[in-house]
């Protein structure tokens, strides 16, 4: 187990380097951080040159990348457009987005898996069909439409929630945004669980379990669910990264000052240290979440062992 984890961590290094280099090139080669600093009025050539030298922008991209990575390894992520160190933005943004992500994930697991099991066991019935249609509708209506509508009705018309989340982003304020953020994934989790459960109900071990007289509940939870959850866990694991990064729309609608908000500001202002710094952390989270998923397989399916 320990050796497996170590091997996986080592395998992550090239992917991590590749992904961060790619985003680095995209930000630095496509955009022009120096002219972005000056807005619509072009910078004075001498100032621009001095700035380019100060931020190593006159060197080739691979050298810039190495210098940047060297800084990151010593904990220096550079400064954001407002003069604050990027790490200070991260300290504020990541806990908020993490809370939002956990809220969304809880909704996905509780509602998504429950609905998936219920519909999977009742394939073809009216409940199954209506849930299936509902999930399609939820996937089809874009988050920004759902978000603005929910904000308008719940926040403005009925006054049940605050239309905008306060800067602390307490957990109770994040319930509705978390639900909105989770909806698309929730629909996918439902469908995935449904398919998986429906396939496994026909498996031999379920027939055996029923035949040896186990109560229905135990068969469903211990035998069926445990085996059906593997694809769902894979999806949820990949979703952790997506939810952290993909909350741009939700965070913008509800004015949550998390990762998505900071990234949106950074991208609009073409502030390279913010964008690259946040993405580096996001890539790391994405990779670690996937490793965690692979380790979860062994818990769910004892046949899978990692030597």
């Amino acid at each position: 187990m320990g050796r497996y984890v170590l091997r996986r961590l080592i395998q992550m290094i090239p992917v991590f380097v590749g992904a961060t280099f790619l985003i680095f090139v995209m930000v630095y080669a496509l955009g022009d951080p120096v002219s972005a600093l000056f807005g619509d009025r072009g910078p004075d050539p001498a100032t621009a040159k001095a700035l380019r030298e100060e931020f190593n922008l006159d060197k080739p991209v691979w050298q810039q990348y190495l210098l940047y990575m060297g800084d990151i390894l010593t904990g220096d992520f550079g400064t954001a457009f407002n003069g604050e160190p990027v790490t200070a933005l991260m300290d504020r943004a990541f806990p908020i987005s993490f809370r939002l992500m956990v809220t969304a994930l809880v909704f996905e697991m509780l509602i998504g898996i429950t609905l998936g099991v219920i519909t999977g066991l009742r394939r073809g019935r009216s409940l199954d069909t209506s849930v299936l249609v509902l999930t399609l509708a939820v996937i089809a209506v874009p988050t920004f439409v759902l978000g603005t509508t929910a904000q308008y009705f719940l926040g403005v018309e009925f006054g049940w929630i605050d239309p905008a989340v306060s800067p602390d982003a307490r957990l109770d304020e994040l319930i509705v945004p978390g639900l909105i953020l989770s909806l698309v994934s929730l629909a996918y989790v439902t469908r995935l669980t449904r398919t998986s459960v429906a396939e496994n109900t026909r498996a031999d071990y379920i027939r055996t379990a029923v035949a040896k007289g186990l109560p229905r509940r135990r068969v469903t939870v211990r035998h069926l669910l445990r085996n059906s959850l593997i694809p769902v866990i894979t999806y949820l694991g990949a979703d952790v990264g997506t939810l952290m990064a993909g909350a741009i729309v939700t965070e913008r609608i509800f004015n949550i000052q998390g990762v998505g908000y900071q990234l949106y500001q950074g991208i609009l202002r073409q502030n390279s240290p913010t964008v690259v710094g946040f993405v580096v952390v996001l890539v790391l989270i994405f990779l670690l979440a996937n490793l965690l998923v692979d380790l979860m397989y062994a818990v769910l399916d004892p046949r899978i062992r990692y030597a």
């Binding site: 590749g18 308008y152 741009i248």
Partner: protein
Amino acid sequence: MPDQAPEALKKSGALSETETLKKEAIPTAAAPATVVEAGPAPGRPRSLWSDAWHELRRRPTFLIAATIILVLFVMAAFPGWFTSVSPREADLTTNYLKEPQLTHFFSPEWLGYNQQGQSIWARMVHGTRASIIIGVAVTAIVLVFGGLVGMLAGYFGGWIDAILSRIVDVFLGIPFLLGTMVILVSFDTRTEWTVIMALAFLGWTTIARVMRGSVISVKQADYVAAARSLGAGTWRIMLRHILPNALAPVIVVAMVALGGYITAEAVLSFLGIGLTEPAISWGGDINRAQDRIRVAEHILLYPSILLSITILSFLMLGDAVRDALDPKLR
């Protein structure tokens, strides 16, 4: 196992080609049902695709989705057939607070006017083109490029697979929406093609992964070994024997992805990083409608409905095709 059925059996029509082709369709419980439900094809045996087509024609969801998509394509190609007003014709004396005249079907005022006094219906009709072009073009590029990468990785395996798969991992590590935003923000004017390139640049990995998995499962089949023993070349085996049989799951994923690309364009336009003015895009219109939602929700409502229906149609189409191509679920 059904995938080991000899070629001769296939010709008798007793076994539909579906079973011979679908490597992963192994559950014994499902296999006999397929034969019965596929129906006795008198005379010539059906291929996987014609079998799926027979199945599809009877499905209401497929027929509805296909009809809507057809209408959307016509709307994108000939917007003039649906509205006589120009989407850019603005009349500031037309108050956007005026209620939509829902009974005046397809007249310029039937869905109301926006803040600039432009007909919402005209803008919806003319906005179709951007969404459809972007969806179709990105899917086409991604299918060709991702399909090629997946095919090479799956067929050759070994170090080629190792390298290509790592490259795919690298691209997957970058969040999709975020990456496209980073690319697009560096362009001052963004046309359909800028958005298409940005989406395709990060989107091809999904198809590559599916194609790779599909090719790996197909290349073990007996008919591939047979073709090879008959002396068929690498390219012939890949294009004539593996590709047609590995394509089904890829097509399904591509159809669902097409809806996803249309969503992505709308989201980008909503965030103000999509198409730039004067391009007409549903997402952009929805974005501009937001600040009037309290007094004139119709500006936001109708483009949102059309956008959702479009995405829903592609999802339903993908769902129906998947069910038709996968005998396991019948």
